[in-house]
């Protein structure tokens, strides 16, 4: 048998670390490497997409060189943790570097704020990830790394609760753990036609997990109540019809409903400050600024970018902000900062056809406005049955700080402002 002794390679290595992307973000999951180990990367190439519980973040190369990937796809990395190393002594191959995947068009790369650490060689061997305190067997280590499984989430059936390879396999299949100590007996199965009753399990994305946690948290802590009303959208629709072309021409965006609702909400919030506040311990925090979260769906789940200081923005600026956020949410390009803060949220379930729903609070906020589908319905106006474009609206609120009277009045205020937008102009 032939063995080579490990050569000591003299390299200049630059660490690629998980950047600090926002104060509330502690860790991220490697979503996708654009290169593979050994590839030559150029400075400013987007190296990796990270998924945090708030946003997708891209990290670019600070130096050119050969990349050695340390954290694989699916692995969780903490802020400052080394994800890869770039050997800057490597020279570019003829013809330039080929990224593993073409970079997405409108990337908003986040450059790691920390200066690159340059270590004199030889590089240390890649660190062994150990999410749990118990050392992992070689096969378990390989499998959990390869499949991005947190060892802590695997039920161990080995000696003293150790995780066996079979446990990881069972975990991936989502089934019961392989029973110890006797080897798993052969599966006795009635013959089921293949593909008929299969199920599929996927690890929740960090974003989805965080959404789940927050929703449950909101349900558990706040005293959520929902009040409903309905809005006659005739006037808004008329205004839209009258000005949509001019608006589009002037601002480059369509005049939608959102801007009306945000404007109305800001006015209502000014009138009922508790709705714009929240509970912090034994205090109520009132905000005299109006940062309105707009819930938009993305393929990774619902995200809520925040329109800051909405009270200072024109209808056009509001529409532009909504449009831009929506697009970037779908592309997974929202930054963490853009999704933090927010004193009140507007959620439009109407785009999916919802007629009525009870939105859940976005903690620590105390209220959320739910918009719904506009539907022509017979309504009675001045003793006559007429057909009007109607929308149900819902306000879910934390009853701990918002009284029933306040919440109902708040929603009525929105109704009045949207039904008669002249009030917004006049300020009554």
């Amino acid at each position: 048998m032939f063995k080579v002794s490990r050569e000591v390679i003299d390299t200049m290595a630059v660490d690629v670390k998980m950047p600090n992307v926002g104060e509330s973000v502690q860790e991220g999951v490697i979503h996708k490497w654009r290169f593979k180990s050994g590839d030559f990367v150029n400075r400013d190439d987007v190296l990796v997409e990270l998924e945090t519980d708030k946003a997708t973040v891209e990290v670019v190369a600070e130096s050119s060189g050969a990349i050695e990937i340390i954290k694989k796809q699916g692995e969780t990395v903490a802020i400052g943790e080394v994800m890869a190393r770039i050997d800057t002594s490597a020279t570019a191959p003829a013809g330039g570097a080929k990224p593993a995947a073409a970079p997405a068009p409108s990337a908003v790369p986040i450059t790691p704020p920390a200066p690159p650490t340059v270590t004199a060689a030889p590089p240390a061997p890649p660190p062994v990830t150990q999410a749990s305190s118990m050392p992992l067997s070689p096969a378990v280590r390989r499998m959990t790394e390869e499949h991005g499984i947190s060892p802590g989430s695997v039920h161990g059936t080995g000696k003293d609760g150790r995780i066996t390879k079979g446990d990881v396999i069972a975990h991936m299949e989502g089934g019961a753990p392989a029973t110890a100590p006797s080897p798993a007996p052969a599966m006795m199965r009635a013959s089921v036609p293949a593909g008929v009753r299969t199920e599929r399990r996927e690890q929740m994305s960090l974003l989805r997990r965080r959404i789940a946690e927050r929703l449950v948290h909101a349900q558990e802590t706040a005293a959520i109540l929902t009040t409903f009303n309905e809005i006659d959208m005739s006037n808004v629709m008329k205004i839209r019809n009258d000005y949509k072309d001019k608006f589009k021409e002037k601002y480059g965006v369509g005049l939608g409903f959102m801007s009306f609702f945000i404007k109305a909400a800001v006015e209502a919030l000014k009138t009922y400050p508790a709705v714009n506040g929240w509970i912090d311990g034994n205090d109520i925090v009132y905000h005299d600024f109006y940062d309105i979260g707009v819930a938009v769906s993305s393929n990774r789940g619902l995200v809520v970018p925040v329109i800051k200081d909405a009270d200072h923005l024109s209808m056009a600026e509001l529409e532009m902000a909504v449009g831009d956020y929506g697009k970037r949410a779908r592309d997974g390009k929202l930054s963490v900062d853009e999704m933090t803060g927010g004193t009140f949220t507007v959620s439009n379930g109407g785009v999916f056809g919802s007629l009525m729903s009870t939105p859940i609070l976005n903690p620590p906020q105390s209220a959320i406005l739910g918009m719904h589908k506009i539907q022509e319905r017979p309504v009675v106006v001045n003793g006559e049955i007429v057909i009007r474009p109607m929308m149900y609206v819902a306000l879910s609120y934390d009853h701990r700080i918002i009284d029933g009277k306040e919440s109902v009045s708040f929603l009525v205020k929105i109704k009045e402002l949207v039904e008669d937008p002249t009030r917004l102009l006049v300020g009554v």
Partner: protein, 466 residues
């Protein structure tokens, strides 16, 4: 008031190890043994003396047949049976004395004599000097072991020419022709000793294979290798009679319904061992052994009498010294109120022929019979650098793993130093290791152990050097 917390009856691996453990746990403990020395079958007439003779005879065999290949030539290679026996006896006595030292160190009282139950709390001991004393204890552990099975009707032991392993460990001179009844562990080991020293050895076995409990591939390889060394096998052959006829012993057997006769010098009956409870007075406490002589116990090693336990060869399970001592430790811990446990799936089984055979867990036939879905990886020593340098390339390593979970369910080695190599895979089984775990663990190069790594990789069809 009972004088002792616990008395172990029998000072073999089960009894002496358990007594030491009980002493460590602070129990007031005694051990009764009538052999005259501690260590039981294993140290006195089993494991240790047999290994001493196997080693000596293997050295002789090596000098005779294997050294020339290494360029080493001896003018004349001789051996001295008396010296071999003296050396063996020296090892045995120093080890058994060593246990007496351990007893003192761990405050175990050594009661010399044969123990017989009077009642569930009292035992009467006929001491070596002829007196009888009684001892009381809260608990008793029966660790009286086993004794060779005698075929009384067709081949009664005469202590000289028709013998058990005990006598075969002490032949004064090399028998010209030794017939071994039974191709099990003891038969093949003792047969090997005398074969190497020049005996013609014929092994008669009723089944159609050697080493019946081993993996079939191992059995077949073992037979082939021993035949190459000159051992003769008569498989599927049933002994019908062995009797003295003049200076010789006449052995008659039946094969395919036809009688065969062999005239030989000695017959070793190695058809197994039976649990030994003779003279123990079980009836006084209301216990009776099963038909096969074994005692029934629950998983706490408790007999039907709650304060009387039993461990070692006298209960079910493989008749092995390390199984006996694991149980001795476990029962001591249980009696001391602690959780004692033996993992029967991770007990190795070794045959000290050359090459050696070692296994842990299930063999392939068992896996198949259980309907398990499994994969195997098998790699020969021939492919291993160290085995080549050693000049010992016979044999292979075979690992059986669950097809789905990759967990090792059995490992079988036939090859040089298999007895030592198996330890790694025992730890693996104990820790529910997968074949991949072994395959991904670094093994020093060049070592025989690398064959195990290769076999583990071969389970996944990705061995690197084979």
């Amino acid at each position: 008031m009972a004088a002792y917390d616990v008395i172990f009856v029998g000072g073999g691996p089960a009894g002496y190890t358990g007594a030491i453990r009980a002493g460590q746990l602070g129990l007031n403990v005694a051990c009764v043994e009538f052999r005259g020395s501690l260590g039981g079958t294993c140290l006195n007439v089993g494991c240790i003396p047999s290994k001493a003779l196997l080693q000596s005879s293997e050295f002789f065999h090596h000098a005779q047949h294997k050294s020339a290949e290494h360029g080493i030539k001896y003018q004349k290679v001789e051996f001295d049976v008396a010296q071999m026996m003296k050396r063996k006896d020296g090892i045995v006595s120093s080890l058994t004395k060593g246990i007496e030292g351990l007893f003192k160190k761990n405050k175990v009282t050594y009661i010399k004599g044969k123990g017989t139950f009077v009642n569930a709390n009292t035992i009467k001991v006929a001491t070596m000097d002829g007196s009888v004393e009684e001892h009381t204890a809260k608990s008793f552990v029966i660790s009286t072991g086993s004794t060779p099975i005698e075929l009384k009707a067709i081949a009664p032991f005469d202590g000289k020419d028709i013998v058990s392993s005990t006598e075969a460990l002490c032949f004064e001179k090399v028998p010209e022709h030794l017939v071994v009844i039974g191709a099990g562990v003891i038969g093949l080991e003792m047969g090997s000793v005398w074969l190497r020293l020049g005996s013609k050895v014929t092994v008669i076995e009723a089944l159609d294979r050697v080493l019946p409990p081993m993996d079939a591939a191992v059995s077949a390889e073992m037979k082939k290798i021993l035949e190459k060394q000159g051992m003769e096998f008569m498989l599927s052959t049933k002994l019908t009679k062995a009797e003295k006829s003049g200076k010789k012993v006449k052995v008659t057997a039946e094969r395919d319904g036809k009688p065969v006769t062999i005239d030989c010098d000695k017959v070793l009956v190695a058809v197994g061992r039976r649990a030994y409870t003779d003279g123990l007075g079980l009836e006084a406490v209301g216990l009776a052994p099963r038909k096969d002589g074994k005692l029934d116990v629950n998983h706490h090693y408790q007999t039907a009498v709650a304060n009387i336990f039993a461990v070692g060869d006298v209960i079910d399970g493989p008749m092995l010294a390390h199984k006996a001592d694991e149980e001795g430790v476990a029962v001591a811990e249980i009696i001391a109120g602690k959780p004692g446990h033996v993992n029967y799936e991770a007990i190795p089984n070794v045959v000290y022929t050359w090459p050696e055979v070692a296994s842990v867990g299930m063999n392939e036939e068992e896996a198949k019979a259980k309907g398990l879905n499994y994969k195997t990886g098998k790699v020969p020593f021939m492919a291993n650098g160290r085995a080549r340098a050693f000049g010992e390339t016979d044999g292979f390593v075979k690992i059986i793993a669950d097809a789905k979970t990759d967990r090792i369910i059995g490992a079988h080695i036939i090859g040089p130093n298999a007895s030592e190599l198996i330890a790694e895979l025992v730890i693996g089984v104990e820790f529910s290791a997968s074949a991949e775990d072994i395959g991904r663990s670094s093994h020093a190069h060049p070592t025989l152990a690398e064959v195990m790594k290769e076999a583990a990789l071969a389970v996944d069809k990705r061995s690197l050097n084979f």
